[in-house]
Symmetry: C3
Subunit: 464 residues, 3 copies
């Protein structure tokens, strides 16, 4: 009999890690100059004439949209299971709230550490990047949904954020690849990290939980809340950390178009694949988002509106086929149980996005971008001032491999750690069930007043 | 026996139209100068000192709010039926994603086509206008909800967007009427377009689907998500394309106030009309929004805060009475079946908004607006530099007629097209049923674990 | 037999008060200079070079986030009861829509009245402050949820807004305390106002409604929508009216961190307190927000990131313990029935926030803030130019007492008024029931098509 009691382990992990965060923030983290009360002095020193030049006003609306995607988007997308809605939205909440703190530190050490003072200075862009980092772990959570304990999720997040920060440093700083919306850094890494963990934690008798491995009518509607907030705000996600001006503007347009196209091809394939052309909610909830994933790398490139539509067109098809063909195949033959189908929504579109990014980078030209625009878009400055666009394309391709290696390697390592029988995960016949980790309310059927008020219902106008 | 199989027609329509979009975008659509990588050159040429002057920063937050209204607002408002929530939110998603692409082209040809290069240049304002255009079709969808097939909806959207773009060009460019929030262009057109189609597609035996023509408790709560996101973000809708500065500021204030007032009168009439003063969710979900519709035309006018309150006051009353009296009358006597009651929420408040706009335009003065403010608000420049405010009022009234004619005429035409027995729509006894076009999950009652975990429930503290 | 018929009283209150609002707005309220059509003249007079300097662009995104918190956040948080979701989200909608109008007037008279013209000039900051004022009343509503009639709620809001405006004037203007996110002005006042009313309206036989005093599975998921939108947008709430630049920036960062920390300690205590470590949705829905409440006063202070984490850490613990220990104790021993547990979510974290604010104010220094930063943050100008930080700390503490006194005193007064047997509130055995004030749809179980489509279900692929 497996012990799913987390009464000691979960509070212990939460407390110890939160205390560690407080200590580490005390030692390392301060406000950056745009958030510090010395800002009025900074303005004078740097000849900034208006408060509106504070990065807060450029990025805060995008930050809030990204924040909604992380907590409501990912959270509600994972409420689709009939009896795991609490776990879907609740554990998403827990690991995101922890992950963003750890991400501020890890990313800070790699990107924002001042060598003189030894402090990490944080501002609005750090908050966005922390949310991005958390997204990688929430993608991985999608593969594990319903099969692991909250303590395992916390461990998965601790290591996931750590690996992400290293991988991100290699890709963005050492390889100097561009990945504004994170097709590679976030989606490829997150998806293969989660899939590998799921492979290591393979549950041979998961079919014993089959009764709970599906949706009910209203849980599918709840999941659509997640889908739509992800879909609507994805232009903010891909443009949030682009450079000011045309970069953010173009990234939003490209993502908007790509997403629209993937909706149509998702509906098409979903209908084509079913008897009588009936649509499947699983496809609509997930594959419609693939266009956003795949525009991550090339978001701010001059891919042109029709280029964005083509990307979305292909992704909707690939992703829906994944749900139809690959997910059953992977479960049966590769022993990878992928609850939310993150391979279809994140891994494949992420790879497609990385490829699109590499090609469009390699074919960039002064004519299309203008000389200054090319420098801005690809950040050809400092050590990279002389890099050619073809070289850039090659480094983009190399970045994909780095994300893949970190995802699979990290996932294998963390999967092994999570196999220890100490984490309180449920047995194979008890997965996808909120009853294991949540106090559940009594059931709807047992409400007495339903009968009572039905007696009153005769007073209601029957024509309304 | 009617054939509701859309396995060929729906994928065919989605694929062919999406491919057509890609080709047309390839031929016609490029980024505008604020989204193009040449922006750094543009800044120098036009002496723009800061990236914050990029229109993206003026309009992106409003755009995102409008985007939420289109997909979550309209989508969830249409989940109120007990077994058509998938269709409500899902088909809304499909036709909006298609419609916005077609709208970018149609509106682009009329408004943003560069005669020299032959290109349509798109930026953030085009995305907002595309979302606006789609709103017109989604309003029409409200009248047809549950009675048409997704293929019919795609056809309805194709023609709807086309008609909208022409009507909008006549109203905004030829008549030079002001309609920032679209009381006329969006709401009058969309509502009469949908109502006329519904009239042409009259189903004499719709009462056979009566068992499904109503809500259940939780579907009404889902619909409130739609209501509230529409309500909260309507100030952004009406101010999204107003001119920078006081125009956007004033439009947001006016809409905020008008909406607040219509909530109170909606509650009042709803309570007044029912036995024991009980409130009706249909009214609360819909009539509370009428104040936003009616402030569409006059949003940026100097109508003063109390003027906005009066508009909202009247609309809440008119709209709720519509649900109580007009919808049953229209169904019985005029043979117009209006599922969501769009006549009450969009048509009547839209007409009221058009009238308010005409009157307030005709009575505008230099004293109230300041000379420069008058020119800004009514765009009295170029060919229209010498137009008087009374003339403007007359053109505003003429614009209402144009919207009405396009709605009714277009609706009659499209209704006839949709009557062909080739579109896969359901029979009269099978309307409002997701089962026709969606793979439905097994039902909630049949979840075995409910019994199982109830046994565990004895462990729960009964006092919580 | 109590009469719960509100058919006369509710419409009468709505109509009369809305008409009063129109008249008072007509006499008193106009657009401020940034929303008035004379803005182009104002720009010239004040040498403003860009429209982006209009306060609208600094504050509108924050305003919209706050607006979502008021209507969706508070509204859906109160849908957790199994049969009071209509009342939770619907009455929240009604009283917020009324309250914000009355707040614009009341706050306007105290803060924005021009002594020369006799007009209140409103702009975007007034809308934010009106939403803030409404938040105080919605907090109070949380204690009364399910036990009062909509007419009582309207009366509660009328007085609540009035008291709030006076209290706010004393705290912000006379005492010159800082309270950007309203730990004191909003949360302490609102919570004790509601708790005192609930105490006066004590229902000795409320246990007779016990069958409805709990959640069902899906109502808990609905409530999570409210929780998450409150949680995500709280950084906007606390930063919305901070001064431009680093003030808003810092307030957002502090609140973001404080909220993240309270999530972890809430999960920890919730798990620690239950058999087998099972989490309780009541805690997750509420106590996770305590970090936002407690950062209200010190939001823009230089509390440093680790300081914000410590505040959130403590609040999550205190608030969850409140739900475990204090709420049952208060109901049993103090005869205070607090439906939503606002004492745990608003009162205690509010007090903690006030204390943190007083201490951090008293220990502020030129070194940490820079001289100009100190003046900006604490607004040491005009009559207050010579105030020391220690004096400021004392005034912060005094402000807490003012909020407390207004809450308790006002609540006692209003509670007595609401005890008159004329308001249509339900009997003790009929609380928490939407049936009293709402036309309810027929119940889910009685949908015939469920049986029907289950017959079709055999066509569905059973592996999906």
């Amino acid at each position: 009999m497996v012990n799913t009691n987390v009464r000691v382990s979960l509070p212990a992990v939460c407390f110890v890690w939160q205390v560690a965060m407080i200590i580490l923030f005390g030692v390392f983290v301060r406000y950056d100059k745009e958030a510090d009360a010395h800002w009025s002095e900074t303005k004078k020193e740097e000849n900034i004439t208006s408060n509106v030049e504070n990065d807060f006003y450029y990025r805060y609306p995008s930050f809030q949209d990204v924040h909604v995607m992380i907590f409501v988007g990912f959270g509600f997308l994972m409420t689709f299971l009939k009896r795991y809605s609490f776990g879907g939205v609740g554990f998403n909440f827990l690991i995101a709230a922890f992950g963003l703190q750890w991400a501020l530190l890890m990313q800070g050490w790699f990107h924002s550490l001042d060598p003189v003072t030894g402090y990490i200075y944080i501002g609005i862009e750090n908050l966005i990047n922390a949310d991005f980092c958390v997204a990688g772990c929430l993608i991985a959570f999608g593969a594990l949904l319903g099969k692991v304990s909250p303590v395992q999720l916390m461990v998965m997040t601790l290591f996931g954020v750590t690996l992400y920060a290293v991988e991100e440093y290699i890709i963005l700083n050492l390889l100097h690849a561009i990945d504004a919306g994170g097709s590679m850094v976030i989606h490829i890494f997150g998806a293969y990290y989660g899939l590998t963990i799921s492979w290591v934690l393979y549950r041979p008798n998961l079919h014993q939980s089959k009764r709970l491995h599906g949706s009910v009518y209203h849980s599918d509607v709840f999941a659509m809340i997640g889908t739509l907030f992800l879909w609507m705000y994805w232009p903010s996600f891909n443009s949030a950390i682009c450079y000011h001006g045309d970069g953010q503007h173009r990234a939003a347009i490209n993502t908007y178009l790509s997403l629209a196209a993937s909706v149509l091809t998702t509906f098409a394939i979903s209908s084509l694949s079913a008897k009588r052309g009936k649509l499947d909610m699983v496809h609509i909830q997930n594959a419609t988002l693939a266009g956003g994933v795949a525009m991550g790398t090339a978001a701010e490139f001059m891919i042109q509106p029709y280029g964005a539509l083509i990307v979305g067109f292909c992704c909707g098809i690939v992703s829906t086929f994944g749900y139809l063909v690959l997910t059953p195949f992977m479960e049966k033959c590769l022993k990878i149980q992928d609850t939310c189908g993150i391979h279809n929504l994140h891994a494949m579109p992420g790879v497609l996005g990385g490829v699109v990014g590499a090609i469009t980078a390699a074919t960039a030209s002064n004519a299309v971008y203008s000389p200054e625009g090319l420098i801005n878009t690809f950040d050809f400055q400092g050590n990279f001032a002389t890099r050619s666009v073809t070289t850039q394309g090659a480094y983009q391709a190399a970045a994909m491999c780095v994300a893949l290696i970190f995802g699979i390697g990290g996932g294998a390592l963390v999967g092994l750690i999570l196999r220890f029988p100490i984490w309180g995960d449920a047995e194979d016949d008890n997965c996808f069930d909120d009853e294991v980790y949540w106090e559940l309310p009594e059931d709807e059927e047992s409400i007495p007043p339903i009968l009572e008020y039905n007696n009153h219902m005769v007073t209601k106008n029957p024509d309304m």
